[in-house]
Symmetry: C2
Subunit: 229 residues, 2 copies
């Protein structure tokens, strides 16, 4: 059975990307990061999705990105709330974590090399890439090119590293429709950047707003509850 | 004063690359990793060099690469000893850490973005790149291209990320001569992959052998002591 490493945050996108990898026949090694994120509850949610979906292995890797700082997700910078959709889609928000996808993909590459796997899945998509530079197609392609020069297995072997971004051109509603068709249980996912101590989503940060609009547009009920309706 | 992030392991190469960055007029932010490496004493050595050379800031970042494994530097795989120079220069050894430079450069990129810096120094060089894929010029160039698509500052701004590898085409002897000319104190450096509990270098691993040959070829006395002469 072919093997893949899937970056798994525990949100809608990464869980859907993981479902697609499994649907394509990959045995999945899911990789989650404990990077001192504010929404640390997502790690527990990632564990639940990984377990429910039957991954081959789930690794939670510690890396203290708080020491580097520069983001509302790791520092005490406030998380933006109640932003207009147009702003959310066009400006890079304070929740941007510097070089996060590059760090995460690099660790996925290391694990893939150890496993002898050449396929890495990441759930980046169109709605993000208007804002986040490391979600754009040209970035993904450049990472793949670099990866094929970086590791022993690609340099010595006949195999090439492939960075799969199966959601790249989908909207949130399309991602949810795709996941529903594959049987994803979205009640196990977490999206909120700024949850309450009990884990309940705020309903007002960019991530909650994209999620809620995605479910509404897709015509499905969002199975999680919010502090504010 | 222009600012740079320098990857600092505490060995001869990274300390020399740091001296070159300073000589070129950069205020240095030195980045060292605690990645569960066997030769963890190098972190203390890195602290001493950073302090002695007057860096602006020294950050030691924790990332548990032992969880990913696949290397004699993080696992219980034996460190090769007493290898012939020809073998050391032509085969990738068990001390190769999968995608290590990619992970380290990615974290340096994140820190540089937070600092508003665009210059990153890494001490890779010719003697390594016959063995390690992530020390070759084409790899460094591909990483730089990817970096310029990855971060907000490069995408939005007029600046471009530059990955400096000032030792790339130098032999170990040439690196040592360059460092001596810049006043580097090599008594503070550590090279051994498999030191004794008291930190004393083994004298027999690839890294010790390259170091000892480098000092001999350069015509300088190696100021550290070895378990085996």
């Amino acid at each position: 059975m072919k093997e893949a490493v899937v970056l798994l945050s525990g949100g809608i996108d990464s869980v859907t990307a993981m479902a697609i990898a499994m649907h394509e026949g990959y045995a999945v090694h899911a990789l989650t990061f404990n990077y001192s994120q504010r929404n640390i509850i997502e790690i527990e949610k990632a564990r639940r999705s990984a377990s429910a979906m039957g991954v081959k292995k789930h690794l939670v890797l510690d890396i203290n990105l708080e020491a580097i700082g520069g983001s509302a997700l790791t520092d005490s910078i406030p998380v933006p709330k109640d932003r207009e959709m147009a702003d959310m889609a066009s400006t890079i928000p304070a929740t941007y974590v510097p070089a996060r996808n590059t760090i995460f993909l690099s660790c996925a590459l290391a694990w893939a090399e150890v496993l002898g796997a050449f396929d890495i899945f990441i759930g980046v998509h169109a709605q993000d890439y208007s804002g986040y530079p490391d979600c754009r197609p040209e970035y993904i392609k450049a990472f793949e090119q670099m990866a094929n020069l970086a590791i022993k297995a690609a340099v010595e072997g006949a195999e090439q590293v492939r960075i799969h971004a199966p959601l790249l051109y989908l909207s949130k509603a399309e991602i949810i429709r795709r996941g529903m068709a594959l049987g994803v249980d979205y009640s196990l996912t977490h999206s909120c950047y700024d949850p309450a101590p009990d884990g309940k989503a705020c309903g007002r940060c960019d991530s909650c707003r994209f999620r809620r609009k995605g479910f509404a547009d897709a015509g499905f009920h969002d199975p999680i509850s919010y502090q504010q309706s």
